[in-house]
């Protein structure tokens, strides 16, 4: 019963927090597009039509066509699907691996901790775009490789999130109590440490989902992401730049889809952080 009350309180705060509510609406709408892209696209996103090259938005092509006469709206739907797939999978992978590493490092302490955390710190000395490009060169282009590259970029962030609280938590009495009745290390980590930090990690992963989508777009904008002919939002923006003077709609709408996706997750994550931050209740 008590748990229900707490959940209800979080839910009502959530509904009152307009920022996160708007963010949630945008995110749900974009996820809907991502899931149902193949069914809601008006035209096959790969279908070329030379008679309709760079046509401005009109009936039949609501957002116009690109330099091969392909429908921009349909391509944006498919591009959103790719972006969200890559973003969500890499954030989940980064969360599992990164948080795990961070918790382990914090819990084990000593040399393991130093080695692990120093390595991750050094990875963070490379700007995201630079490190991402580097990983993509080594692996070559392709959806799986973009996922790997972005996961690699997510790991240090989640590791930091998992590391610091574990350090503080392992000194707590109840952890000592759990150990004294014979709980194994993995049980302590999974049952006593993880539940305490999971909320924060979930909130941050909403924000980092936006980051992951931005990185996917940046990599494909630079030409090292998912290869053509698969439409990605970043590569659409890139291709449209050459026709900016005559057909701005290609770049502008594709970029808008990226912007709206990221903005949705940022609003949601930001609102959630406000709600879950206990300091704000006191104010």
């Amino acid at each position: 019963m008590k748990k229900n009350g707490k959940h209800r309180k979080i839910l009502t705060t959530f509904l009152k927090n307009r920022t996160s509510l708007i963010g949630a609406c945008i995110s749900v709408a974009m996820i809907f597009i991502a899931i149902f892209a193949p069914w809601i696209s008006p035209i096959d996103p790969l279908k070329q039509n030379v008679y309709y090259r760079l046509t401005p938005p009109e009936r039949g092509h609501l957002l116009g066509t690109d330099e091969y006469g392909r429908d921009v709206l349909s391509r944006i739907f498919t591009g959103t699907r790719i972006s969200f797939f890559v973003g969500i999978v890499s954030v989940i992978l980064g969360m599992v691996i990164g948080t795990g590493m961070g918790m382990l490092a914090g819990y084990a302490g000593g040399k393991v901790e130093t080695a692990l955390m120093r390595t991750l710190d050094i990875m963070m000395a490379f700007p995201d775009e630079v490190f991402g490009v580097m990983v993509m060169i080594v692996l070559g282009t392709g959806v799986e490789n973009v996922i790997i590259a972005i996961t690699v970029l997510m790991i240090p962030r989640f590791a930091r999130m998992g590391h610091a609280p574990t350090l503080a938590l392992k000194e707590q009495d109840y952890i000592a109590a759990a150990k004294s009745i014979g709980a194994s290390d993995s049980r302590v980590l999974m049952r006593h440490v993880l539940p305490n930090i999971f909320g924060d990690i979930l909130v941050m992963s909403t924000l980092w989902l936006g980051t992951a989508i931005r990185l996917e777009a940046s990599l494909s904008f630079l030409g090292v992401g998912v290869p053509p002919p698969t439409p990605t939002l970043g590569s659409m923006v890139r291709a449209g730049v050459d026709f900016m003077g005559v057909a701005p709609w290609v770049s502008v709408f594709a970029g808008l889809a990226i912007l709206v996706s990221i903005f949705g997750f940022n609003l949601l994550g930001d609102g959630l952080r406000d709600i879950t931050d206990p300091k704000l209740y006191a104010r």
Binding site: I122, F126, P127, V133, I137, L222, V252, I262, F263
Partner: protein
Amino acid sequence: MIAYTIRRILIAVPTLIIVLTITFILVRIAPGDPAEVRLGDYATKESVEALRKEMGLDKSMWAQYLETLKGLLHGDFGRSMINGRPISEEIKRSLPYTVQLTLMGIIFGAIFGIPTGVYTALKRNTLSDYIGRTLSLGGLSFPTFYLGILLMFAFSIKIPIFPVVGGGDIHNLADNLHHLALPGLTLGLIMTAYVTRMARSSVLNTLNEDYVRTARAKGLTERKVIYKHLLRNSLLAITALIGVYAIVLIGGSVMVEIVFSRPGLGKMMIGALKQRDYTTLQAVMIIFASLVVLINLITDLTYGLIDPRVRYK
């Protein structure tokens, strides 16, 4: 302070060495043999072997690594795999453009971001706070390349007051600044969003400090509390945190340089990537990471200088 400085520099050195090692390994495991890449598809086996020898690729990995390290200590980045020219020269040409761009980005960000952040924090939960927060969150959501393209569309194509591409003549200040305007604005706006948020939360944190409550309790005017106690302390934190965004700044500069075809390290990196010029790529990666390490070092030292508590940690 001297002990702290030495300690901090001693931490930076191994970081740089590991950065170099990671880059070296990544470049070596990347597909494609440098000699084959340089000679093209129709080269004979013998000529490839000869070139490998000339480029030192027949030596062991360890020997190559030590050679690279030795070269770097002398400021020598080796030669480009594609055209055989010394990479240091190319870097010397590109670096000023990137430094210009990032400096403009951070100065713009600080000038507009800090006051906005402080103001919205002091007026928290009012309409202006709400607008400020939404705008800065919007700025954070903007992919740098997209903002650049939109600005280029507006101010180079629709209203052609700024050049579309290029970096301008570095020795001609007016021309140079004319070319810097839009790229600088792009990076500056993104940085403003980051700095605004950081400044706001920093001021909010300071508002909860005991000494602010004490200052109020002893009857100081709100004005005095804000200027003498609050701002002084939160500005410290803001200065220090600007270093944290060095990564965002440098990553953003890569994207901006590509959008505006502006000479610079980012352009150099992507050019090297397209041509599979791994030695140039390695050099640029090392410079980028060193810049980040350097900015962090400077930030830490500045912070240590202003706030003695940091030194004794």
